[in-house]
């Protein structure tokens, strides 16, 4: 750590302070010409703050429209916040002078998307998909690049020979493994998982969740885990934040949260989850 001082411990991998994001609501062209009317905005995220220590998983839970995906995009630098600060290992992601360090920061942040169908370019071979971050950050080229791609594919449980294939030749679970291999390719320390298993079947979901857990402990990764599924969150995260209409209504350690959530909304969410085994009711 360059900026660490004796009094502070190691900076958290991600820290988010007072994050807000507004979206313009589309207005018909002629009405925009009427003067004196402010453009209406929709506040998707309001004043959200949290941090994730190294090697931990923080889960953001919410229903559709809760702003969880907007936060994910701001945290990885795809969407600029209207207000607030995103710090990656202590560095401001959106600082104006960070343009040259931006690329260095980008290498440390990666993302695994929801739909493995859409997150892999259908016209690219797997070797090009997984190799793209390696090439973009100049980590390797030629034979060394091919070797790295093969290594990453093996890490996620695929074979080196799969590099020559196209995404459509794989099942949904395997495609998500390829997406994870691509996320690992830039050797990041922080990965945002945006609903990584909600498009997958249950038996495959378990495989992918276990893979993410193994990678975390092997590589010391830090996760921001976005999900609508409380059971998955209970399994994956050490800490949980509940979002309702862009506001963080509750934040707690997973154990505390599932023992008895405080916010009314969290209680409602928890009680709405279908219970699969109703114990021994015979």
């Amino acid at each position: 750590m360059k900026h660490s001082t004796p009094t502070t411990t190691v900076a958290p991998v991600l820290s988010v302070e007072g994050l807000s994001r507004d979206f313009n609501i589309p207005v018909p062209f002629l009405r925009r010409l009427v003067p004196g009317r402010p453009r209406p905005v929709f506040r998707a995220v309001t004043d959200v703050s949290f941090e994730i220590p190294r090697g931990q998983t923080y889960a953001l839970v919410g229903e559709s429209g809760s702003g969880k995906s907007t936060i994910a995009r701001m945290v990885v630098g795809l969407t600029r916040p209207t207000a607030g600060v995103v710090r990656i290992a202590g560095h401001d992601l959106f600082a104006p002078d960070a343009r040259d360090t931006r690329q260095a920061m980008r290498r440390r942040i990666q993302m695994v998307f929801q739909d493995p169908q859409a997150s892999l370019n259908p016209r690219w071979r797997v070797e090009a998909i997984v190799g793209e971050p390696i090439r973009a950050f100049g980590l390797a080229s030629g034979r060394a690049l091919a070797a790295r791609v093969a290594g990453h594919l093996e890490t996620v449980g695929l074979s080196a020979a799969d590099a020559r294939k196209y995404p459509h030749e794989f099942s949904g679970g395997q495609r998500q493994r390829i997406a994870i291999a691509r996320a690992l390719a830039s050797e990041p320390e922080f990965i945002v998982c945006d609903e990584p298993t909600s498009a997958l079947d249950v038996s495959v979901q378990a495989q992918v969740l276990n893979l993410l857990r193994t990678l975390q402990s092997d590589l010391g990764l830090t996760y921001l885990f976005i999900s609508h599924d409380l059971a998955v969150v209970r399994h994956m995260a050490q800490r949980v934040g509940v979002l309702q209409r862009g506001i963080l209504v509750e934040e707690a350690d997973t154990k505390t949260f599932f023992a008895g959530p405080k916010a009314e909304y969290s209680q409602m969410l928890l009680s709405a989850v279908p219970k699969i085994r109703k114990g021994t009711d015979e």
Binding site: V76, L78, R106, R107, Q110, M111, F113, A118, S119, E132
Partner: protein, 303 residues
């Protein structure tokens, strides 16, 4: 499997082999294109060699006619040129102008469509409003207008490839809108797909994302439009040539031949118009049918 066997095994080839119409259309198009390309080899005469022309041979009917001459299978025109040879060379010009203007329109339209779709904002507005305005005029009118303007400004000293390039430019410019609209629509969809976000995430530049990621995924519909437009471009070229604002008289296209023949149609020399007209019709029809099949085959919802 090699690339070739895999291509032959694809669903597209399967559909192709199961659609006789498409196969006939493709065979006819290929035969005509081959004839045009090989014109210098297979044409019995060189219609542009003045020393080989004899004015005594003019207006000879086709060879099977009692007054015909076996040297000229499909008869001769007003200058004694062999009509078959003139048509093969004319086909060359027609196809060259058609292909070139489609390629020009494709490059222009795809580029503008990519920019409009990905940049959005004022660039999108500017490009798409220009497209809207152009769409209100028929393509032939625009081509006619542009060809007229260029002809007027470049009339002095223009020779060789110059007029042809202007023709290609005018026809191409009247076609770009379709490509731009299609590509823009596809880009709007593709740009929000997660593979594009993944590329943005690692700092890949906008031009690189457009060319390497998005372009290959929007080319399918573009190629279908290009095929159908090829027929249209050939017809527009023929129309312009027929109206006298097309290719220069030195290198006659099918349209020029039809116009020349038109002058003699009512004096009994029907073959000068009929044969080039038939070839033009067959060419446009087969290219069009092939394009229609391609559109249906690539769009499972219609099939």
């Amino acid at each position: 499997m090699t690339r070739v066997t895999r291509a032959l095994d694809s669903d597209l080839m399967y559909s192709f082999r199961r659609t006789p119409g498409a196969m006939i259309a493709a065979a006819l198009s290929c035969a005509l294109i081959l004839g045009a390309v090989l014109a210098p080899v297979i044409a019995p005469h060189d219609p542009f060699d003045p020393s080989g022309l004899s004015i005594l041979d003019n207006f000879l009917p086709p060879a099977w006619d009692a007054a015909g001459d076996p040297r000229f299978l499909l008869g001769t025109d007003d200058q004694g040129r062999d009509l078959l040879s003139a048509m093969l060379y004319g086909l060359r010009v027609s196809l060259a102008v058609g292909f070139a203007s489609v390629i020009f329109a494709l490059i222009l339209g795809v580029t503008l469509g990519l920019i409009a779709g990905y940049a959005g904002g004022w660039a999108d507005n500017l490009i798409m409003r220009a497209a809207d305005i152009q769409m209100t005029f028929p393509a032939i009118l625009i081509a006619l207008l542009l060809a007229g303007i260029f002809r007027g400004t470049a009339a002095q000293g223009a020779s060789g490839a110059g007029p042809l390039a202007l023709l290609v430019f005018s026809i191409g410019l009247s076609f770009w809108v379709q490509y731009a609209r299609t590509v823009r629509g596809s880009v709007l969809i593709e740009a929000n797909r997660e593979y594009v976000l993944a590329a943005r995430l690692i700092g890949i530049s906008a031009p690189a994302i457009l060319i390497r990621h998005i372009l290959p995924n929007v080319m399918g519909p573009v190629l279908v439009i290009a095929t159908i437009n090829l027929a249209l471009a050939i017809i527009i070229e023929a129309t312009l040539s027929f109206l006298g604002v097309g290719v220069p008289p030195g290198s006659p296209s099918l349209g020029t031949l039809i116009r020349v023949g038109n002058d003699y149609l009512f004096s009994g020399e029907w073959w000068i118009t009929l044969f080039p007209g038939a070839v033009l019709g067959v060419l446009a029809l087969s290219v069009n049918l092939f394009g229609d099949w391609l559109r249906d085959a690539l769009n499972p919802r219609l099939g």
